[in-house]
């Protein structure tokens, strides 16, 4: 068995197992920790696909940034009461049926479409690394979307502060 196959199955197991446990855990902190393991598995998959920059971004931004935010909020809102209550909504079986139907559809179309996928492109030997080439594309071709995204982030910062602020009348 080649090494990349072993690593693929390992990371796939971490990702999917973490995802399932995130959805099923009763305690929200446990959910967050399982989600971290799932995100780590995803980061490993990025590395397998030679996306080194996104591997670093995934760990620094997702695990270091977003999950920290989640854990902070979990500590701010009191979830002890919630952990003792019913965890799943009343329509869980409808959701399960819908997801099963969508899974069958997805499986059908992936099985049908995969043979018609264009052939794998020739691997080009680059002299620069992944980060350098990504920066070239991001700061030339995608400069306007890049600036637009910075505006989006600004709006999100202002919005979240405004939402979480205590209003004194």
């Amino acid at each position: 068995m080649p090494l990349d196959a072993i690593f693929f199955w390992l990371f796939a197991l971490i990702t999917l197992g973490g995802a399932v446990m995130t959805v099923l855990s009763r305690n929200a902190v446990h959910s967050a920790v399982w989600l971290i393991s799932s995100l780590l598995g995803t980061a490993g998959l990025f590395l397998l696909q030679k996306a080194e920059f996104l591997f670093a971004v995934q760990i620094i931004l997702y695990i270091g940034g977003i999950m920290l935010l989640f854990l902070f909020v979990i500590m701010l809102v009191n979830l002890n009461q919630q952990a003792k209550e019913r965890q799943f909504s009343g329509q869980w079986w409808i959701a399960l049926v819908v997801c099963a139907v969508v899974a069958v559809q997805f499986g059908f179309f992936v099985k049908k479409g995969m043979p018609e996928l264009p052939a794998r492109a020739e691997e080009i030997a680059h002299t620069e690394g992944n980060i350098e080439r990504l920066a070239d594309v991001l700061f030339t071709q995608y400069l306007v979307p890049f600036e637009a995204v910075s505006l989006l982030l600004l709006a999100a910062i202002v919005g979240s502060v405004l939402m979480a602020k205590v209003k004194r009348s």
């Binding site: 959910s31 909020v73 965890q87 909504s89 979307p145």
Partner: protein, 104 residues
């Protein structure tokens, strides 16, 4: 699809499974914090798909899109958690089905 030869199809199938697990989490759970985490799972599934095709076609546009998706995920999590704090301050609950202020 074979067990030892890993192709793009494996990554697509994995991202499909992750997307479905995330969707199930959004639909099934009552806790809003876990619903937001499930949305992160869905966005991650999309990222895996984009990067698999970026490698398949040797085209960097997929990775640029993944960066944008991560940015949007950050913005979404920040605003969602801010809303959650405001909600908890007013209603003392984090259960999605107990928030019925807009229901008649």
């Amino acid at each position: 699809m074979s067990f030892t030869e890993i192709g793009t199809g494996h990554y697509v199938a994995l991202s499909m499974a992750l997307l479905l697990i995330g969707t199930l989490g959004v639909l099934v759970r009552r806790n809003i914090v876990v619903i937001l985490m499930s949305i992160e799972l869905i966005l991650n599934a999309v990222n895996i798909n984009l990067i698999a095709f970026s490698e398949h076609l040797q085209d960097l546009n997929g990775q640029v899109f993944a960066i944008f998706i991560i940015t949007v995920a950050v913005a979404e999590a920040a605003v969602g958690l801010g809303l959650l704090i405001a909600l908890f301050r007013n209603k003392e609950t984090v259960n999605a089905d107990e928030v019925n202020l807009l229901k008649w």
